[in-house]
């Protein structure tokens, strides 16, 4: 699998200022009067892999939909790659931000996998040859060649998930927003998908990952933003955020078993975050509690 081939050369830079995305004092009130976001400010640098955490109804999806202009702030401002989402068109924003929905069926609508992957680049106005080349690369990167002429709707859930991700990547967006990408996948498929996400990150993509799975947050993200009732209650390196047990309890987020176990075994030390770390500490000197 050659995921790096799906990355555009401009996305190869390390994290640099100014931020690629700036969410500035954003408030969002839905038509029914519910304020889903209240004074949210987040800056996202190029090349980050950020986890967005919080219970359902905390505002995660509302915030994510502000990053690609699907929703616009009631007040405050969102800037994506220099575009103000209040004035930029969805098509302009879509060139920078790809959004992968939780349910792949919300974005699969073509009659073949090939057509699905061609749809985005064709809408960008690329030449037929360029479209064809992107489709070929996408099919190869996700191992979908054998299904190119299949109707995506008849594929299994894991494959439909790959098709939805491949079709978004056909647009070569700098930023990928993934809303619960592993829901409904078995564990092996979830890890396969996260391996793809990791490679895209290594290749320079900026990734915003919404998930409830704390194993995935702990293992894959470098920064975590925690939302609760429409406000950001924590934003920092994932491992630092996971140290704040009071905050996690208040947001009803349960750390992984390894983090909880090491907290019980060594209450005065920072936790181990992965199985190997805990086992090493236990068998080594750290066994003296």
């Amino acid at each position: 699998m050659n995921v790096a081939a799906l990355t555009q050369p401009t996305a190869q830079h390390p994290v640099v200022a100014p931020p690629l995305i700036t969410v500035d004092h954003v408030r969002h009130v839905y038509d029914n009067g519910v304020a889903a976001l209240d004074d949210v400010s987040v800056q996202i640098g190029r090349g980050e892999l950020i986890g967005l955490v919080g219970q359902n109804g905390s505002g995660k999806s509302t915030l994510a939909k502000h990053l690609n202009g699907l929703l616009r702030p009631t007040s405050g401002q969102v800037e994506v790659a220099g575009l103000d989402t209040r004035s930029a068109s969805l098509a302009e924003i879509a060139q920078h931000v790809g959004f992968v929905f939780q349910n792949p069926d919300h974005q699969i609508f073509c009659s073949t996998v090939r057509e699905e992957l061609a749809f985005g680049p064709r809408n960008l106005g690329l030449s037929p040859a360029a479209v064809e080349s992107r489709v070929a690369l996408g099919l190869e990167a996700f191992g979908l060649e054998a299904f190119a002429d299949h109707p995506p709707a008849l594929l299994g859930f894991g494959l439909r998930r790959k098709v939805s991700l491949a079709s978004v990547l056909s647009m070569r967006p700098d930023v990928l927003v993934l809303d619960e990408p592993t829901v409904g996948l078995d564990w092996r498929s979830a890890l396969e998908l996260m391996a793809i996400v990791e490679r895209l990150h290594e290749a320079g993509h900026t990734i915003v990952l919404i998930t409830h799975d704390m194993r995935i947050i702990t293992r894959f993200t470098t920064r975590a933003v925690v939302l609760r009732a429409g406000t950001v209650v924590a934003d920092g390196p994932t491992r630092s955020v996971l140290l704040d047990t009071d905050l996690l309890r208040a947001t009803q987020i349960e750390p992984t078993q390894v983090v909880r176990l090491s907290g019980e075994l060594w209450p005065d030390q920072p936790p181990a975050f992965e199985v190997d770390e805990l086992v090493q500490r236990w068998t080594g000197e750290g066994r003296r509690s």
Binding site: G156, V183, D186, H212, V258, E264, V279, R287
Partner: protein, 305 residues
């Protein structure tokens, strides 16, 4: 503590252990009919056996496409009655074959709750939702009111009875879907990925309700799930299904430590089981942790010793 409770719902060993089975699956084979005429039948189940006692909690894990949902649908006869296809072996509900009884006859005994509560809730209020199945069964009105109140109380949703299902959280919707099934007084409930898409609070609500139902009301549970931490904590038995066959079956403390079967099925195991497996290999210990509490006690004791 939950581990101690885990076996409580299981029936005591009678002279004939099969005498009180609520559900038996015997060498079940099933193939879906082809989508296009002339194509091959699609083999999904290739010889599945399962015995279920009152109050037993059995979890089914396995990769997508292993046949988990098909098995769930076979338990109340939807497969093959509504799906056609090739069927061999049998499913007995209280000794009655699903081949000889209509789905409508079996529905009160075996209630099925699906993954997405949205697709099952369509009424104006929570109480209409729960009453719907009973109306279809022709339950008399006074009895219906009693059962409605009981079912909502069991899932902790009594105070929401006049609300619209649309105003509820994901976990609450799933609890209403469970109440609707409970109102039929089933002896088995089958849940197909009931917590998929729910947040941690919602997942906890569903597992707590199900645990209470089997413990206090001896309702047997078959749950298809990917959530290994809760499965390890709550199940009496785990069944790993792969390519239509049961590759291993037993208490979580055996199945999650069968490294070959776990790798073959590609399922997750609790991190504390990973910790125990690594420690056992390194130090020769014989830990079988299933929960953080198990692991803490086990490691703490080892340290003191």
């Amino acid at each position: 503590m939950t581990r101690q409770n885990a076996g409580q719902g299981r029936a005591p060993q009678a002279p004939d252990p099969r005498a009180d089975l609520v559900l038996q699956v015997r060498d079940l084979h099933y193939a879906y009919p082809p989508l296009h005429e002339g194509d091959e039948f699609v083999d999904v189940l290739r010889g599945v056996d399962l015995d279920l006692h009152p109050g037993e909690f059995v979890s089914v894990m396995g990769p997508t496409g292993a046949g988990k949902t098909t098995l769930a649908l076979a338990l109340n006869g939807i497969v093959p009655r509504s799906t056609g296809g090739r069927y061999r072996g049998e499913v007995l509900v209280h000794g009655a074959s699903t081949k000889e009884h209509e789905v409508a006859e079996l529905a009160p005994s075996v209630g099925v709750v699906f993954q997405d509560p949205e697709t099952q809730l369509f009424c104006m209020s929570v109480e209409d939702e729960v009453a719907f199945g009973m109306e279809n069964l022709g339950v008399p009105a006074p009895q219906m009111r009693t059962r409605l109140a009981e079912a909502l109380a069991l899932v902790g949703m009594s105070e929401y009875r006049t609300r619209s299902p649309r105003q509820l959280s994901g976990g609450q919707k799933q609890r209403v879907a469970i109440a609707a099934v409970l109102a039929m007084r089933p002896s088995v409930i089958v849940l197909d990925e009931p917590t998929s898409g729910l947040d941690p609070i919602g997942k906890h609500e569903v597992f707590s309700v199900v645990e209470q139902l089997r413990r206090e009301h001896s309702i047997a549970v078959v749950m298809i799930e990917h959530e290994c931490d809760q499965i390890a904590q709550f199940s009496d038995r785990v069944l790993l299904l792969e390519a239509g066959r049961v590759i291993t079956e037993g208490p979580p403390a055996d199945v999650f430590y069968d490294q070959e079967a776990v790798a073959r099925a590609g399922v997750c195991i609790p991190q504390v089981a990973e910790v125990a497996t690594e420690l056992n290999a390194l130090t020769g210990s014989a830990h079988r942790f299933l929960t953080v509490a198990d692991a803490f006690v086990g490691l703490h004791d080892q340290e003191v010793a």
